[in-house]
């Protein structure tokens, strides 16, 4: 028995302990939600938890390795053939692309507008996918040491993946556009309508909110980044309008969008440095995730 100034100190009852700890966790949540008081702590823990995730990922890795081992030579040969075809096609397209770019450059010069400098890119290996359902985030193996900054856009070969929301020395966390806390300003490629695409937590569905029934948007429309808000450079595909539900009782349309990027595929993200954003002093994302 522990005594304090001669008085015996009983250990608190389970209920007292629950109340105490509940208060403590509420305090933590408020600190985490309201201020960004715990950001430093989080970037430290991100480094600590990496090996734990590596261990947790072992079974999946083994299954994948075994699967790779048993890939038959026929599949491989088939794959090689497909890839060759694809390369040929891409090369052909590249030719016309080069010509178009040169032409574009000339036209821009004539218009005396700022030419878009080639964007700097960096590929980053995915090391972790959020285990918590409904949060759509990934961790990639690049960090502040490679110049990654908070608010940096991430893309894949098909479209926008999301943006960097946390950076540690060698890893950073990317919030995907499907995360419920993420919003991205877009432009309807067909009609020029400006809109904002929100994540829903569902890996295949994005949502356009606050569009009235008269908005010029229909299924099949491609939505690209508008560049407004300054986080994402303009012109990258975000998604294709999949379904529009018009409920007369609701003020706004319920618009479902299929993300263009293959969010659940691949092991690599591409981080880009938007041309006009300064490399050294990045602005906090204006349209960043409405922080949890």
């Amino acid at each position: 028995m522990i005594t304090v100034f001669g008085y015996p100190l009983r250990s608190p009852s389970p209920f007292a302990r629950l109340v105490l700890l509940a208060a403590l966790s509420t305090l933590l949540m408020v600190l985490d939600h309201r201020g960004h008081y715990l950001d430093r702590l989080r970037s430290t823990t991100m480094v600590i938890i990496r090996p734990i995730y590596a261990v947790a990922g072992l079974p999946a890795g083994v299954i994948e390795a075994v699967g790779d081992f048993f890939t038959t030579s026929r599949t491989l040969r088939h794959e090689v053939a497909t890839l060759r075809d694809e390369t040929r096609e891409l090369k052909a397209r590249q030719l016309s692309y080069d010509a178009l770019q040169a032409e574009n450059e000339r036209l821009r010069q004539r218009l005396a507008s700022a030419a878009r400098v080639a964007t700097r890119l960096m590929a980053a290996d995915l090391i972790e996918v959020a285990a918590e359902p409904y949060a759509r985030k990934i961790v990639v193996a690049r960090g502040s040491r490679q110049g990654i900054f908070v608010g940096q856009p991430a893309i894949d070969a098909h479209g926008v993946l999301g943006q960097v929301t946390q950076v540690a020395a060698d890893v950073s966390r990317v919030t995907l556009i499907t995360d419920p806390g993420h919003a991205i300003p877009v432009l309807n490629n067909r009609s020029g309508l400006r809109a904002i695409v929100f994540g829903t937590g569902d890996p295949d569905i994005l949502q356009v909110r606050y569009q009235t029934a008269s908005a010029d948007i229909k299924p099949g429309d491609l939505l690209v980044t508008s560049g407004l808000g300054g986080t994402f450079p303009p012109g990258y595909p975000v998604g294709v309008v999949h379904k529009i539900i018009h409920d007369p009782n609701e003020a706004f349309l319920d618009i479902h969008v299929r993300p263009a990027a293959k969010l659940n595929h691949g092991k690599r993200a591409i981080l880009i440095w938007p041309t006009r954003a300064p490399l050294s002093a990045p602005n906090p994302p204006a349209h960043g995730p409405a922080r949890k």
């Binding site: 629950l18 966790s25 918590e132 949890k292």
Partner: protein, 164 residues
């Protein structure tokens, strides 16, 4: 190195929690994500029922906090709160729960898991991003189905490891 029987029991206990945590963060294909049971919750409930003098509110809180840190993007303290609550209820009812037939026990466990999910839902709703859809509740159902197996496995561990 020779370990005392009590040290060995504690180590086994920690190992079971470590395994539950690894299962909780193990990568899974997206379609299976909804069916991932609350492993840490299940293991925690078992130990609260079987050895309430060892595992209780404090352990639950600490486990929840570890989960929060590992998830990395949840509100820090959210799972700590739910796990402490679940541990408290399981501890309070441990005598009744021990007496229940297995299926009834499983039902009670599912209700506990349901309560913890509900707390998460409330807090998420309060900060403005409540998960939607029926898929959110499937882990409680999966927990119900898995409980008899978890119970058998952990009882086996407890008897072998002489954890009291």
């Amino acid at each position: 190195m020779r370990l005392g029987p009590d040290t060995r029991a504690s180590l086994l206990l920690y190992a079971s929690f470590a395994a539950a945590i690894l299962l909780a963060i193990m990568p899974m294909p997206a379609w299976a994500e909804d069916f991932r049971p609350d492993w840490v919750g299940l293991v925690l409930i078992y130990w609260c029922i079987a050895t309430p003098q060892r595992v209780g509110v404090g352990s639950g809180w600490l486990l929840g906090l570890i989960l929060d840190i590992l998830y990395g993007h949840a509100l820090l303290g959210l799972h700590a709160l739910t796990k402490a609550t679940v541990a408290y209820i399981a501890m309070r009812l441990h005598l009744q729960l021990r007496m229940f037939p297995r299926w009834q026990q499983a039902l009670a466990v599912a209700i506990l898991l349901f309560v913890s999910q509900l707390i998460v839902l409330w807090v998420r709703g309060a900060v403005g991003r409540a998960p939607q859809g029926i898929g959110y509740w499937t882990p409680a159902i999966v927990g119900l189905v898995l409980w008899p197996f978890v119970f058998a496995a952990l009882r086996n561990l407890r008897r072998r490891g002489d954890i009291r």
